[in-house]
Symmetry: C2
Subunit: 355 residues, 2 copies
């Protein structure tokens, strides 16, 4: 991870002054077949800021996206990439800023990937706010946006005559999978079977389509980070993986698109995830090194909350995700819990000055 | 597949005149750590033809190979790639010629991939003839050769402290696999469990390392062709797959590195594979369209031979590898049989004017 990779570049403040916020209602969409309700890369603006039109080009097809990123590479530009599922928050934007700081051109993607959702998970209700997301990315100076349909990414589902294929309702079953076998059943992979093979498969696809020099991921998804790093290393993918720190709300809750599911009482209860990690941090600061006792203290902190059900609280090697017995070097303290029906995760990297 | 992709380019005869055969004993190898007994890209020639030295650069590390192919791409050259396991024959060379005919620069690889051999298969005895292969490739005008060690391709085996790691003796167990699930258990995949996930994983790795515009495979491995095409399509790998016809000995035996295992009696028996396919062709020419009856006739042809044991004889869709009931459109007639202990394969594409 390049040092200072997540530092905003100093010119950003000035750039932001040059890019006034354009409210959604000032953007007129052309009628279109796209599931997102926008035409391929062709938005007509009512805003007077027409000189900004070139800033964000949106592509819904693989061929268009590849052509655009290849043109950038031919021009010798370092291309950064921030893959997302949309419903953007400051955590995503911190990745974009890190990409802007170290790359000459930045691409992002918005794709709610059905193959990483389990049959009883929240695919259909996952928050979608495409137009708002697009504007946020444009304001941050992202140049290329890839926003494909499910059919574009998984045409095999169409092959198999799935007439019910529609955004948010169908989990296609691809024929080809990329699987990081030993890691994919650990942490979140234990409670979300097949989740990580969905993630690694779609990330490999996106890397092949966008062909970035560097891709940016958030430390919040610590197991995902370990698994993607391992995939890149094992398959010799020519992409540098940059991991950026967790971004939190003022009260310490890790930012997540799923926080939108919480009602006000659950929102308060959710703070216990962060508090359980802080409890471990305190004990480590006080000299405790036994991972078993530390994890027990973290679990105890969660157990005290009504309507919060612990999924896991583990202290592991951040690369292999294997449990450690003693805290030394860099270890990952990771927690997942259901607050009501919403599954939230958080973590702390001990020994790396981050978290 | 580009039409005429396998046609030799007309200038070849002239080129060959310019490149006299340099016998192996006129090439002095520098002492080296390489498992192949050659130094990284640095051969000192005793031959007077020193002006030819630039023709073939050999790389044993991933970083060197990637740098060389990236330099070619920056120069705007179309890069063709012919992955091999060495022990080259005219079949391999036909792929090289197809690559030379349609690409400005050609890379090849020689890597006996341990992860595609089963525990009771011929990994240790698989024929290895690196120096001869290198010279053949040089004579055909290949510019870049990637010849990594097992440790270079699968460092995870070293991670896991495998002191016995040595060429030909160890099958590493990678953490990350690329699997074409529905196809990998069909035809050869049924009798060679895990063979195809080894193939797809190493081909994905090689594609990520070499980053070719086009890669060339032989129709002899018909199931492999179907599976690699599917992988490329599903994972959006930016590589064009070009498939070249089977190259045969004068008597019709499909060329294979494994033909070297056959003694003279087995060599004669082996012709029955081709004859079983010809029998099906005759019946189709005579009007038979029932796949069951055609396959039965093919199996019968094999059954007549002592010391030849049929593995499979199937008539399938060449893309899905699913059996067909009626011969119409393009179908793949595929046979695999053991001649002594040597497993050979052959096939015929009906309805595509090839085979």
């Amino acid at each position: 991870m390049p040092s200072g990779g997540c530092r905003r570049r100093e010119a950003r403040g000035i750039l932001r002054l040059c890019r006034p916020i354009v409210p959604t209602n000032r953007v007129e969409l052309r009628s279109t077949d796209s599931p997102f309700g926008f035409a391929q890369g062709k938005l007509r603006r009512l805003s007077p800021h027409s000189r900004l039109e070139h800033l964000l080009k949106t592509f819904t097809t693989i061929d268009e996206m590849r052509s655009a990123s290849r043109a950038a590479r031919r021009a010798g530009k370092r291309l950064g990439f921030v893959p997302t599922m949309g419903a953007l928050h400051e955590g995503h934007l911190s990745l974009v800023r890190a990409a802007k700081a170290s790359c000459e051109l930045v691409a992002s993607s918005i794709f709610v990937n059905p193959t990483q959702f389990g049959p009883n998970e929240d695919l259909a209700k996952y928050p979608r706010s495409f137009e708002r997301d697009r504007e946020l990315l444009e304001r941050e100076g992202v140049e290329l946006l890839f926003a494909p349909s499910v059919e574009e990414m998984y045409p095999t589902a169409a092959d198999r005559a799935c007439p019910e294929l529609a955004e948010g309702s169908v989990r296609p079953t691809p024929v080809t999978w990329v699987t990081v076998e030993e890691l994919s059943g650990k942490l979140d992979g234990r409670s979300r079977p097949d989740h990580f093979r969905g993630v690694t498969t779609v990330v490999a696809k996106l890397f092949h389509i966008v062909e970035p020099d560097a891709a940016f991921f958030g430390q919040k998804d610590a197991a995902q980070v370990a698994i993607i790093r391992r995939m890149v290393r094992d398959l010799n993918l020519p992409v540098e993986i940059v991991v950026c720190p967790i971004v939190r709300e003022a009260d310490g809750l890790a930012m997540s698109s799923r926080n939108a599911y919480l009602d006000s009482e659950q929102r308060k209860q959710a703070l216990v995830l962060r508090r359980s990690l802080m409890r471990v941090q305190e004990l480590v600061d006080a000299g405790e090194r036994d991972a078993g006792r530390l994890a027990a203290a973290g679990r105890e902190a969660i157990a005290g909350k009504r309507s919060v059900r612990l999924d896991y609280f583990e202290i592991v090697n951040p690369d292999t995700l294997d449990p450690v017995e003693v805290v030394g070097g860099t270890v990952l303290v990771a927690v997942a819990a259901f607050v009501g029906t919403t599954r939230l995760i958080d973590n702390l990297l001990l020994g790396r000055g981050s978290g």
